[in-house]
Symmetry: C2
């Protein structure tokens, strides 16, 4: 038995499980704890190259990509690798090594959870 309190996961409109990282920003003032989880995600997307890399992975065939798939953002492969790791550390991407390459994909629930943050305006 565990006494650890687990925050409930909620379902988005698409049935996807949404992590409790990002409550609707318009619903109520965000708590310090919530902000400490969500802010690093926004920060990771706050760099133009990282934002483009996140978009490159999210829009790639099969919703995953390796460094070998990304060549058009104007930075070297080591720099691409560095930024992809930062996106992973922020909880935005997951990764899996297959042979020579590490494949990145958007972490489950991230898109729905982020969309939810901005969804409730005016409602």
């Amino acid at each position: 038995m565990s006494n650890v309190e687990v925050q409930p996961l909620t379902e988005s409109g698409t049935g996807e499980i949404v992590a409790p990282c990002c409550p609707p920003l318009t619903e109520r003032p965000m708590s310090a704890e919530e902000a400490s989880v969500a802010a690093p995600m926004f920060k990771a997307l706050g760099d133009p190259v990282r934002l483009r890399l996140f978009s490159a992975v999210a829009s790639h065939e099969g919703s995953e990509a390796c460094v070998c798939d990304i060549s058009d953002v104007g930075v070297s492969q080591p720099t691409v690798s560095h930024h992809l790791k930062k996106l992973k550390e922020a909880g935005l991407l997951t990764s899996e090594r297959r042979g020579t390459w590490v494949y990145y994909r958007v972490a489950p629930s991230v898109m729905a959870s982020m969309a939810q943050s901005f969804a409730a305006f005016g409602s």
Copy 2:
């Protein structure tokens, strides 16, 4: 007559005009130009205190707030003012002076535009 090329505004599902800052991240790789507009917005939200302040304004009665309305984020009023200005510079808030106080509100289209960025995953 002007030769300046104006990017078209699009309408969100709610009929709100959406600025072209944030195309769906999953639709296609974001261009350098698009990223240079959107990244500063994410960067501004990448600080926990600024994120809480943005949420405090967005969730406040009438969807606007002045420094005088915000007292519970654990920083001084000058610091609150500083962060609200940063959020304004990033295009997330607009401001209007009324008497002693500057009132901030979420810039039109920001919520819909940001939600749109994260909306198209899996579709």
